[in-house]
Symmetry: C3
Subunit: 653 residues, 3 copies
């Protein structure tokens, strides 16, 4: 990213001056300077203000804003506004509005209301992007291009259907292949012509899961096509300006970010944790570590909430200091900056209660005062911040298609939740003080990436290709420690079960086969012979070489293996059959880590403290309500106040 | 209302002879006489029986029914049947069927299935109304016209869209104004042509709340236009017959009854309380007091259930005596009568389990026997009943648009519930024995109405105009006591936040500003330093002149103001920041009442008794299961039996 | 059923070789032989493999499969594949796709996606059936025809509307009759032309329940027409092959199986119990007994799950031995076999986690091993199994239209659940060790069937015709014991309430009238004077000749009758007014049984054992986890192991 100085930490956020009168804009620039803001994301959702009628442009206001920001020394992440076409677009191109699975054609009135496959939409988008590129590609305020916003729109219209069919033809080549890998003989779904294939639409009963899975892959690729089209236009206008788009990270995922990461100049992530109190630090760490995985060490926090956190049922206001601590945590985990949605809280519109650095109450408010302090902190930190990202010897696997596959109906248990499983694995390792990376078994570079780790955990890696399975086996053979859970390695990438006993992809390396699943009723655990309890899941495991470490102790499974270890080449493969709570899983993963020789960032840390190391700089965060003191080798002990942090130069422990 | 004798209490209800053979009608008239019924609402939903084919009328049966009722001395509230067009209407005018936000065009088969904006519907409605007017406007049985039924139909079709645009043009005048007050720069929603504006329809994500709010206002006005059209036709036929329509009061409100109240000759209300046991009396009181507010002292209970109460999960049968007690309570609170849905329980149709004065079991049943006694009681009471309504010195504010605004998505807490907040304020005052009125801050006569009160409570008055805010400030300046809660005074009538600190409309009169909302998780209260607990809501308050009476005592807010009092001119403005339970809120409101010099109807009343005074007549109700004895000044103590009532002449206390 | 040997017990299940390569098919045949499988259901959902393009057939694979199975001595239940038209059908006949009440036209991609009223669908179905009939009607492997699959598709399109109107004209003859029995005067629904009648479609509010009820009856008849059309084609091709279709029995019912039973050569039932642990035996018994009622003694278990049971929230794996025990239980209750969905668990498709006799793990698995043992057991049992079905002296009534009527909205209690009520009555009798049959009050042979019983229970028989009511009264008059509960006998077959006091159909025989329903809130029971408690329901009963056995003891009903007995002719009619738990209901029904002289199959059986008798063969099942010993007259005691069973020759007790 050419213009992103490595000695600078981005601090700023989404800014929508088009919603405000001129005097407020003047106040904004003054307040940004007071807070030390050095970047503003401008133009997201501004299409109807930039092109109020087809072909009539109003760039004057944007000229003035960019000029004013530049004069104040503030860079601009200039957005293309294509995530929300103006109302005139609907009337001009009704066929470019998205259609739901039920056949309802949506209408403007919100955001994201377009069909990415519609030629008219693509043309209008190219047009406004070209206009922006022409006008601003060499603007001195331009720090980076921010394409679109949170790609993720779904459409099931006939135009989408045609695009889906083209994608399928390209992927499967032959209709017989598609019929085979989709198992279309089930329920008389065999296609005799490509034209018969539709997006998943309202139908009588359960859909074909392979059909749904390929449609989600298609949608991710189709949206990526939309991004690339814009990126290439912008790059052509000025190859020196870095280009990104903001990935959404959360409980909902409509694109495969691991695939997208290769197409952006820097991975930018919107992260809105929902946890409050205890647990919030783990969610922040998860977000930062996963983003760093996508970005191969470097990424940018593009949006997070300055204050109110969306939780089920209500918004939760952050505690004093939490904005600062969470922001530093992202930076410690590799973010090039700390950016927020949003700068100023709007008076109206659908998100008028979303928090902002300048809230409804104005600058005379706790959140703005904390922002001013945070700006100072980041500015002071920038020169000290090493280039290198945090280093980890343990990795957790992440795979968007496995998530999609486990979102279908008809699963063996309604408690199956991919995100929960991955977050738990990460959280348990994080609680043990380990630095954690992510690997992506769906990507071609898996084998290469695995070389960096001593220990890899595969939570619910439901889909796995032959190549990825081989790479993971070889990782073990070469001395690695692999941990597999009960829903990992079950199916091929099309979602077809690997037969002969679960988990088909890893039976050999694990030295066992699972002959029967026995999902547990909610609230009815199963005893294990080590005193722990299995929750949500049990199954009948038959070992074939593996050593049994823990056995089921109740129900019809009494005496059967529950947790096993298998030597394979120079390494070890572990199998965790039951669902476990954090403590029980922690005991297992700690044991694996010990055998793998993986040690915490800072051994002996009190539980309410976390530590992140970048090179010689050690970040210490206190997530509790009492002070925490840390003994550092060769220096005085460091005390971190409740809710606070410390950055300490420290040799590697 | 010309024909409504003030010495008569209406007693009767909805009557549908078209569902029954002739011998049942004969029995009905005899039973009505036995019960002392003096009014029957006839013709609601009778369109398909009156006009079975377009232009072919069958009035014979209605002639006979009106004649038979008149002969028996029973008056008729004759309904126009326009709430449910006949099946032939759908086939003749498919475009006049309503369309949902998803684009589904509804079909006949229930009731209320029409688009009020559709010219064909309006023409058909005018036609049948004109026929009825011509035939019955001078019929001797005609006591009043009952137009339509429970107005409240929603439609999103293209015809509605055009009507909505006309309404918007008339309201906002200029498209730039609309763009400004709707904040359409948010999410690229700026309109460049009126033609781009649609009713809220299925869209990708959250709608614009200002758009939704104006649509709800439009719908209320559009339906009112439908009413006025009928009213004027009927009035032209005979200006001496009073005209009304039945307002629905409940958990659902689609029109702004405060605005409608000025267009009817008497406010008629359908009230279906859902509370059983303790709490039922408060809900009845709330309904009666609110209706009296709409009707400026006089109103008519047009429908309530004789027996079964709809509660979540099941119908609850009233206790013996409850029908009588509740009915008298409405009368005590200003109702000109006690009318029920319905006279005779139907054999079939969608509401065949709705209760009736004559149930499926027939007249040999508890409910009919109680009805006979109630008829006698009302007849005896009529000559004693003073003209004047109950008088109150305290008022609660009611504002339908604030309710609508707080029904949108994206609110800071899912526990925000306008109706609950208003009902709680009323209930707490009612439990303290105070007579309570309602005022309507959205109406032009607010300033005039406020002169009647010493104390005014504004629960969740989210939207408030500059004019209303000024009137309320002046109310305080002139000596009044104003109580404001945490969601009151937040926004202007378009729903735009009043900036600079909440509550923008009342910061000055309250002497404080709120700089941050901190909604509470369900079940996680916050301590207050008076021993009470805040629930659902907390926030950071900074006083600017106000005196702090109670402080938050827990969480990050410890020590911050929670309940304050501010002298403003000759009066006092109180602010209640946290949500409170009834007891805690009661202690605050009792204190305000005491300072305002407002006293109960009858001090020292046992908690299971309530008292309502109309002039010299005192109504005493016992809602408990033990007798209650009341000492009255200058007369013997009065004992009210469990579940019973007493009407006592008594000088003002 | 000509080819069904009475000395043979069918053992096998659904088999889909079209989903597998040739080597798997070879393995399947070998495994079937190992397990003793003697029948395979082939061709369900195979349409797209049989006719991959319109008019182009691929029968080669089916020829090979049938040949291979026949060579191995395995019979074939050959299905017509019409439950799931191929994708090409949608494109060729878009108008034959089903339409929801909201107007959404469904698309292929699942199963069951067709409109049974559509001429194009019917033609395509007849065509493929004719092809199959021509090719296979005399195939030596053909054991029976299995038409379609689980009939139950719903459609609301215009073609369906026309068919519905024809059905209505035929049923009601005159539009005035329809208007009368549908109570269309309610809410202005009176029809003046048949053309105005639509299927129930999206409308504004509650539909007319009589309209919905007739539509459900129509749909059952319309689907039956589809079946008969196929049946007659197949029968014409070879009158000697029995023809059936699999009835779905479960929490959802879209056709009236009692009516269908007369049109099949043998009643075949799909039964998927959802109960786990205690209660599972009662659900199996219920399914078997009800199926036997439809089949007049003989029926065939066509599908059940070999292992995983669908329960709310997760699949539950059966305990070891449960497959065997449940299967034998069905056979004991009259099933001609034990068949499963499915033989081999699929790799893909929507039901890839459905259990199978050959699971994903392959034959080296607990379920396949148990299947092998079960095959041996059935083979050994076959020659010993008497022809005669179990004999019962007590019957429970079953009536699909009453279920439908109680599924509407606006009922007096959300806890009303027809299936729960019938299952409870059956379960309570079953727990008392009684053999139980079912009778069908909606069928013409009711009077004749009643002659077989001493005791009949009518749970929630909401709808009852005059004829059925007379037959039930005569049953009592002739000496029978009739038990009526609080929602039985309420309405006529159109759903119109029988007036004058509930239950209108049985007031006279019960000697009482109910004048008021008082549904109870969940969790708020009402005391009875015998120490039991009423749950869910109470009501005010006035006796008129009946003897009060138990009285309400709480609430406003204190002292009122709750359970009564009335002598009527030579018999007795019992009324159970409150809802009761199993124990309380059991005490009442035991008393009735005692007075009726009905005795258990095997008196004194321990509670975890059940006994079923067919002729001289006594089946004993142990559903508990400790052994159970049974003393048999004239022979040694028999001990049944936990989870096991015994078949004992034994003279009648």
């Amino acid at each position: 990213m050419s213009r992103v100085g490595t000695r600078m930490i981005y601090f700023g956020g989404d800014y929508n001056p088009e919603q405000w009168p001129a005097d407020v804009v003047e106040e904004d620039v003054a307040l940004m300077r007071r807070a030390g803001v050095n970047i503003a994301t401008v133009g997201v959702f501004s299409w109807s203000d930039l092109e109020p009628e087809p072909g009539r442009y109003e760039f004057g206001w944007l000229d003035r804003v960019l000029g004013r920001l530049h004069d104040a020394g503030i860079g601009v992440a200039l957005a293309t506004p294509t995530a929300s076409p103006p109302p005139w677009f609907t009337l001009a191109h009704p066929g470019a509005m998205p259609v739901t699975a039920d056949g309802v054609r949506l209408t403007h009135g919100s955001r994201d209301t377009y069909c990415v496959s519609a030629p008219a939409y693509r043309a209008a988008a190219r047009n406004i992007v070209a206009e922006l590129a022409e006008r601003y590609a060499h603007h001195p305020a331009l720090t980076m291009w921010h394409v679109h916003n949170e790609y993720g729109t779904d459409c099931r219209c006939d135009v989408t259907a045609a695009a889906f069919r083209s994608w399928l033809e390209k992927k499967h080549g032959d209709l017989d292949v598609l019929n085979e890998v989709w198992t279309t003989s089930f329920w008389s779904q065999r296609y005799s012509d490509w034209a018969q294939i539709m997006p998943p639409r309202a139908t009588q009963y359960l859909p074909n899961p392979a059909h749904v899975l390929d449609f989600r892959r298609f949608l991710s690729d189709e949206l990526l096509g939309g991004f690339i089209e814009q990126r290439d236009l912008l790059r052509a206008a000025n190859p020196d300006v870095p280009i990104t788009t903001n990935f959404v990270q959360g409980g909902w995922v409509s694109v495969d970010h691991a695939r997208w990461a290769g197409e952006v100049d820097i991975v930018a992530v919107d992260h809105y944790p929902a946890a409050t109190g205890a647990g919030a630090d783990a969610e922040t760490a998860f977000g930062g570590d996963l983003a760093r995985g996508w970005g191969r060490g470097s990424w940018l926090l593009m949006e997070t909430a300055p204050n109110l956190i969306y939780t089920p049922g209500r918004m939760h206001a952050k505690e004093p200091g939490q904005l600062t601590r969470n922001s530093l945590d992202y930076v410690a985990r590799g973010s090039r900056g700390a950016m927020y949605f949003q700068w100023r809280q709007p008076r109206g519109g659908a998100e008028l209660f979303h928090s902002a650095l300048v809230p409804h109450a104005g600058p005379d408010s706790p959140v703005f005062r904390e922002a001013v302090g945070l700006g100072r902190t980041l500015k002071a930190l920038a020169p000290r911040l090493p280039e290198e990202p945090p280093a980890a010897r343990v990795a957790v696997a992440w795979d968007a298609p496995s998530w999609w596959a486990l979102q279908g109906g008809g699963l063996p248990s309604a408690e199956i939740d991919y995100l929960t499983a991955v977050q738990q694995a990460h959280r348990v390792l994080h609680r043990s003080g380990l630095a954690v990376d992510f690997v992506f078994p769906g990507m071609d570079d898996l084998r290469e990436r695995l070389t960096a780790y001593d220990m890899v955990v595969l939570p619910h890696l439901f889909l796995v290709s032959d190549e990825a399975a081989a790479a993971l086996r070889d990782f073990v053979a070469s001395g690695g420690h692999l941990v597999v859970d009960h829903l990992s390695g079950i199916a091929d990438p099309a979602g077809r079960i690997r037969l002969g006993g679960y988990p088909g992809a890893f039976r050999d390396v694990l030295g066992l086969r699972v002959v029967e699943w026995r999902p547990l009723a909610g609230g009815t655990p199963i005893a294990l012979d080590n005193g722990d309890r299995g929750i949500r899941w049990s199954e009948r495991v038959e070992t074939a070489g593996a050593e049994t470490l823990v056995r089921y102790a109740g129900d019809v499974l009494a005496g059967a293996p529950a947790i096993t270890r298998n030597r394979h080449g120079a390494g070890t493969a572990w199998y965790v059959s039951p669902g476990l709570d954090d403590d029980a899983l922690g005991r297992i993963l700690d044991r694996v880590a010990a055998e793998a020789g993986v040690t915490p960032v800072l051994p002996g840390l009190p539980p309410h403290l976390t530590a992140v190391r970048r090179g010689d700089l050690l970040f210490l965060f206190n997530h509790g309500d009492v002070p925490g003191t840390v003994a550092l080798p060769g220096s005085d002990p460091v005390t971190v106040q409740p809710g606070g942090f410390q950055c300490v130069e420290s040799g590697r422990v």
